[in-house]
């Protein structure tokens, strides 16, 4: 990705770097794709030739945000999204990197598909970290080739979209992934309990006459995975936490020394099942939107460190999958462009500090995936996200960068967004 581009002097910004404990106004110099220095100010004579100065007064300068859970749909469903369009949406949303889930067609369960994804991403405006499949074809029967996947560039393995039903297979996956330093990302769902459900089970599902997905469908499998992770002494990452019970289980597991990490998506701390209204398929996801109590528990988990990361679960679908009967509609919404604005609402509400936000979007995803990033230390790769907390905007259809527009947030007014994204010292998105 590195190519010759002018050095950048980013000055007057509020630099937020939780790893070094920095939160102050200073300047950062970027040269040759790396952070060349940090300081109160740089003398003009000390700047490299051709350096461009960008004034970030009133903005936050953060280590690059990493969305560790997206669906780019390529290969196989390019009418919904491509690696090119999805990474453009990522850059526009303030992300310097994304980890893409393997439920493509074909499933990314082998080196060939991983290599194809990375080849397509070579000139993309965001780094792409492929996640390989836990099982061949994500069928939940036999382990995929983790060694080959790792060698080709996969950073983790997951059967996301489908749970690993067989406990023995999950145990073996945890053990074998350890040989290659790959973390398992678990989509925790008991299919017997979720059955043909299409929304959270409760008063509202009864009123709408829709089949419910009870909360234990998630909790039971989260406990199974925590139990197996403890037993095998391997790390596990729980994807898209949606229930208060899951938050409590993860808190308990962490207190007991299990290597468990977790992410949630902005819709789980923003919306409840009420968003379904009159059968709005843009509020249909898996796990389903839950209740106010769950939203409160997830916010608390984000604040106290129980939940490690915010990931969008960006799931593009066309009207062919969404403008249909609720029972038949596909799960999921796009999220790359709204994740940061929605999380900034939590900062505005006092739920999260600015430093905690950066941990959730940058420091922790980098650590969990084992990739470079999450730091503004001198010499670190110059992947940077700049946020303007005061930028007010209405998210309209015309603004959508993703190839799909399946989001319930169209028309919503946001306060704050990413206004400059830099990857390898190169500007990938700017609306300063």
């Amino acid at each position: 990705m590195a190519s010759p581009h002018p050095p950048l002097l980013l000055k007057n910004g509020r630099v937020i770097d939780p790893v070094s404990g920095t939160d102050k106004r200073c300047a950062i110099l970027v040269a040759d794709g790396r952070i060349a220095g940090t300081g109160k100010q740089f003398r003009a004579s000390s700047l490299p030739a051709g350096a461009r100065t960008i004034d970030l007064r009133g903005k936050w300068l953060c280590p690059g945000f990493i969305d560790m859970h997206v669906h780019l749909r390529e290969p196989g469903e390019e009418y919904k999204e491509t690696i090119a369009s999805g990474t453009r949406a990522a850059a526009a949303g303030g992300f310097t990197a994304v980890a893409c889930m393997p439920n493509t067609r074909p499933v990314n369960d082998c080196a060939t598909v991983t290599a194809l994804i990375l080849e397509q991403a070579r000139h993309a405006p965001a780094r792409v970290y492929p996640v390989g499949a836990i099982s061949q074809g994500s069928r939940g029967e036999a382990l995929a080739e983790y060694g080959e996947l790792k060698k080709a560039g996969a950073v983790a393995v997951s059967d996301d979209g489908r749970p690993v039903t067989n406990g023995q297979l999950m145990r073996r996956a945890l053990e074998y992934a350890g040989n290659f330093g790959l973390r398992i990302i678990s989509h925790a769902e008991d299919l017997g309990l979720s059955g043909v459900g299409v929304m959270n089970e409760g008063d509202l599902s009864t009123r709408l006459g829709l089949r419910g997905i009870p909360r234990p469908a998630e909790d039971i499998m989260v406990y199974r995975d925590i139990s197996l992770a403890c037993y095998t002494r391997r790390p596990i990452h729980i994807a898209h936490v949606s229930t208060k019970e899951t938050v409590a289980l993860i808190r308990w597991a962490k207190a007991n020394g299990c290597q468990v990490t977790a992410e949630t998506a902005p819709h789980y701390f923003t919306l409840t099942e009420e968003a379904i209204g009159k059968y709005n398929t843009l509020a249909k996801m898996n796990p389903p939107l839950r209740t106010l109590e769950d939203v409160a528990a997830i916010k608390a988990g984000l604040a106290d460190g129980t939940i490690d990361a915010i990931a969008s679960d960006h799931a593009p679908h066309s009207p062919l999958e969404k403008e249909v009967e609720f029972d038949l509609a596909a799960n999921g919404i796009i999220g790359l462009e709204t994740a940061v604005p929605l999380a900034l609402e939590l900062v505005r509400a006092g739920v999260l500090t600015e430093a905690r936000l950066v941990e959730l979007f940058s420091v922790n995803p980098a650590r969990i995936l084992g990739v470079e990033g999450g730091t503004l230390a001198e010499g670190a790769r110059a992947d940077l996200t700049v946020i303007d907390p005061a930028r007010k905007f209405v998210y309209t259809r015309d603004m959508v960068v993703s190839r799909s527009a399946n989001t319930p947030f169209l028309g919503q007014t946001f306060h704050g967004k990413a206004v400059l994204t830099i990857v390898d010292g190169m500007i990938t998105h700017s609306e300063l």
Partner: protein, 312 residues
Amino acid sequence: MTMEAAHRFPHKHLLSLEDLSRDDIGLVLSVAASLKEISTRSIKKVPTLRGKTVINLFFEPSTRTRLSFEIAAKRMSADTYNIAAATSSARKGESLVDTARNLAAMAPDVIVIRHACSGTPQLLTNHIDASVINAGDGAHEHPSQGLLDLMTVQEHKGRIAGLTVAIIGDIAHSRVAHSNIIGFTKMGARVRVAGPATLIPPGIARLGAQVCSTMHEAVDNADVVMALRIQTERQNESLVPSLREYARFFGISSRTIAAAKPDAIIMHPGPINRGVELDPALADGPRSVILEQVTNGVAVRMALLYLIMGGN
């Protein structure tokens, strides 16, 4: 028509009884009561809806409801067309939205839809100008059935407010139960439900029903006892062990009904699994109003078509 309605029907569509006010329901029932007489004439037809087009769009098999809507429309002189899923383009993979747009292009006035997926009538309204009447969507609602049940009780008891209605059986999957719970509670009746706990959904109390743990508790001193059809596939979903056990413990028999008021009426939305949810002797006995429900179905649907197409 000579109907003098103090209250105008303010709805373009009929998607659920949740959307109707007490006054709206009262209006439908009074219009239905006056239209009922038409079906007793030797020439069972009035010209009220001449030139109007009604399409019955049925994605689920139905004999009674589809025929009832068709007869209702024809007695009001509307032109009716029936589309059954088996012969429609749904089988060819056309989406519902495309079907809706194509129907809209043929300018119908009313589309009566039945569909296995809850919320489908709502989806139809987003893509079509015609009025939409929900003839049953998934486990959501069957509002015209709720209205005809209210009409039948009103005829027999002279009122609805203050009555006790027991609904027995598969509450979880029954759109009839949902519309009836909403309709009867809205009109001031008390509704109790009972059945296997596997078939009592969460939040049913929020709809206004009192959940009873025994049949006796539900039926005790009731004015109306309504049995619901139990689908045979519930056995395969581990919701009931067998129809035999269901009939023995949750079927309505003369023993169960003994706890109800002496003049209690017995209702069923049909079709009946005789000997499973309802003892055949009761279904055919003097307290059964099951066939009156069917007769009133035509009157209620005539009233709905009339009111939805703008009254007079």
